[in-house]
Symmetry: C2
Subunit: 236 residues, 2 copies
């Protein structure tokens, strides 16, 4: 936890918060702050700053907080990601959040096992918990928005145009002749499942303006492709 | 397994191999090839091509192989990586191998728990197994070389100059004013442990020509930093 991430209900007065539960337990097990000690803090969706411990006991801790610094700039890349299996999904959401992505569309595709859509990880509360942990690691305050699209064809035919808008449309595609490079502007990056999008899906996406781009000659796992691609697109 | 990775002892005659054990088990469980079926194959350290199944039973499978295509070009980035905890180490080695790294130096540093050096994963046979799996995923044939440096100061003072040679020396360092960018040539990229190199270590590295570079304002985990940095450096 590189950041004490606060939410509105934590405030008991202006500039004063009381926390309990997971965050307190974590502080007690790691930093063990004493009154007067200062931690990095941030307000969910808001500014970064510091929290100074006033007092704590086994149940709660109170801090005075000063939040006066803007959070990191969002990455101007949105993800259109074929739903990975649950364990990989968690790692992908974490990597994307760490790298500053704020918009993630999880999409069905032919090679996505339908059972993946049943994972409890996709419940809004579970997603939120995973993203909060990633924000605490990253020292960021803005939650990514996650949308679920359980059918490929209706999404691509009826919704994709509005989702993509004027952004550059990129499709990470092994074997594409053109290497992925920074676009200098907002982009929507599609990443297929293990094994890749099937030809019909590739065609559906390229017909809607997605440009196939390659990350090199090797076959990557989804999570490595995601981080490598975002690392490259995040270059200014 | 995207590649049937062969080694010299597999050859029972020119252009003919017999496999058993893990690779056969995996084929039986997944692809279930029949005589005449063709798989992608490669020779460890050598060329890529195809393997055509001649026959198989419960114990062995025999293939005729044609290996006539060069493997992917190595990435011209070597890693100097503070030894991560074992679980993260495996993911880092896998990501680095997938992205084409062929030279990895694992280094002690102040924030590396000394117990990490005791992990059985560092035994040569275990490292080799992990790297072979990654090569099979990547469709590559060239094993990365891994060197262990169990003491920071003697390594940096006595060996680093020869290891780095004329390559660009980069230090992934949160908060560095300069962003990481492709160097257009060979580089040696240093990545610290969770929590970062301590100031003395940063100073030791910068005194030897390592340029601190940043991957953005967020605090990344080692494995995400590694993949994002390699993705960026791998751009041509």
């Amino acid at each position: 936890m590189n950041l004490l991430l606060l939410d509105s209900p934590d405030f008991i007065a202006p500039g004063r918060v009381r926390i309990a539960g997971r965050r307190l337990t974590h502080l007690q097990q790691t930093l063990q702050p004493r009154p007067g000690d200062t931690l990095r803090a941030g307000l969910l969706g808001g500014a970064l700053g510091t929290a100074t411990l006033l007092h704590r006991d086994d149940q709660t801790a109170e801090f005075s907080v000063v939040l006066d610094t803007p959070p990191p700039e969002p990455l101007s890349v949105a993800l259109l990601l074929a739903l990975p299996r649950p364990k990989v999904l968690l790692r992908c959401l974490r990597a994307a959040t760490l790298l500053g992505v704020k918009e993630i569309h999880l999409l069905h595709s032919w090679r996505v096992d339908k059972s993946y859509w049943q994972t409890p990880l996709l419940a809004p509360q579970r997603l939120r918990e995973a993203l909060l942990l990633a924000l605490e690691q990253a020292r960021d305050t803005r939650l990514p928005r996650i949308s679920l699209h359980r059918r490929f064809k209706p999404f691509v035919e009826d919704e994709l145009e509005a989702v993509a808008g004027t952004r550059a449309r990129l499709l990470a595609h092994p074997g594409a002749p053109q290497p992925l490079a920074g676009t200098g502007g907002p982009s929507l990056l599609a990443i297929g499942p293990e094994g890749g999008f099937i030809p019909y899906e590739v065609q559906s996406l390229t017909a809607r303006g997605f440009r196939p781009v390659s990350l090199g000659a090797r076959v990557l796992t989804v999570e490595v492709a995601l981080a490598a691609a975002l690392g490259r697109l995040g270059q200014h």
